[in-house]
Amino acid sequence: MVEYLIFSVLNTLVLGMLLFMLSSGLTLIFSMMGVLNFAHASFYMLGAYFGYQITTVAGFWSALIISPLLVGILGAAVERYGLRTVHKYGHVAELLFTLGLFFIIEEGVNLIWGRNAMPNFIPASLDFPLFTLFNSEFSAFRAFMLLISVAIFIGLYLVLTRTRIGLIIQAALTHPEGVNALGHNVPAVFMMVFGGGSALAGLAGVIGGIFLITEPSMALTLGPIVFVVIVVGGMGSLTGAFVASLLLAGLQTFAVGLEYSLVDLLGIIGVTVNADGILRDIWRIQLSHIGPILPYLFMVLMLMFRPKGLLGKREN
């Protein structure tokens, strides 16, 4: 049990920080520009594919740097030449634009790399167990993921709170017109944030593509979870995104390992039910099987009972 707990906590951290790398950019972009970027997870996918491709040519460490840069530049270009043009037609147009982008990137990836998963493996230099506790190993790669994402978290925090550009970004989260009227080039800041957020998604892709899988449906698999994170955390709140990332990662990690059914759960609190009859199948569902539903269930409940999210500031 102790072993299970320790490893679940560690895995929660690894997955949670990966989610945060994705959700931080998305939530910043949303509250600043009011654009719910459907293509955010596509940038994550591009990061993974670029990462894989660069690794085959120049090795993992080059990929770790070059791939996020490429994705970041691409993101900045999408903002500058795409979104900014579409912006004047309103939020629905912007939403559809990013949705279109999502499919374009998915089909593009299909065209270039095909439908099968890429053999995107852990680099040899990180492919060893870092430590063994009880009977389980914790791999060096997971530790490395954790290290990078914590470093990103700290870096992001410092930039946002200690630098002038960080203050401008924070101010533009609530009053972009106000910041603009004070003489700051808000369109340029938008482009930077969009590019930076995309680069973070790309970085998450380089390591996430190895940790999870690199295939054309990876954006569709992870994208909804990232949306759940920013809704649960509260749109526009970085702290909220952080808490929600860990929360949802925990929910998924722990649920997977728990072989309890509803009957067992009710048994714990002293309720016995007749596990036969029409509802038999429902009573016997294992927690580990509803794991994938939990995030969405959580989001739906959150929207019903606390629409602004855990730490969100907006009501609408």
Binding site: Q170, A171, T174, H175, G178, A181, L182, G183, N185, V186
Partner: protein, 231 residues
Amino acid sequence: MLKVKQLNAYYGNSHILQGVDLNIEKGEIVSLLGRNGVGRSTTCMTIMGLVPPKGSIIYNGEEIAGLKPHEIAHRGIGFVPEDRWIFPGLTVMQNLILGQKSRKQKSRWTLDDVFTLFPRLEERSNVHGGLISGGEKQMLTICRTLMGDPDFIMIDEPTEGLAPRVVEQMGQLIETIAARGVSVLLVEQKLSIALKISRRLYIMGQGRIVFSGTPDDLKHDREIRKEWLEV
């Protein structure tokens, strides 16, 4: 200094400004009066580039209609919005610092000036903008714009909701601003303060200027006051 000619502006299909003409010279305080919803705030927003303009806005001899808000701010125009736009997650101090266009910008207004004018802001300098009172927000938003050293400043309803004693103080501040060579366009509801400190006044009615003259002209024109100001 600022010449606005035949300025039009729209929100969607509603034609809000229907040919506004304004003229402001260096160092003057000019008031823009009118009933609720006639388009005074929209006039300021349009001059600032925050609402797309149709028509001509000449500032220091240059056509600025069509420029971006930050470009207009860099030409020397400052704007104090009616909604204050205080950044809630930043401290009072950080709000003030963002008033400067760059870290090194020199201004005729220093932090010391601001804190001498409003000691309250110094006391509250580490408090988040979201937590200060309405009156404090009003002082902060004006001082923040001053930190950017505008040569011409538009102040939208600075005395709204202030206690009478503070209104008096606000009037003095505006005179201090003008005394340092900054032209002021003051959007006001309170006729008394506008009459007292302005050199000239404009009155707006439904998207147009319907009166232009000195405080004395307006004092003697009961008809105009009755038709366009009183409710």
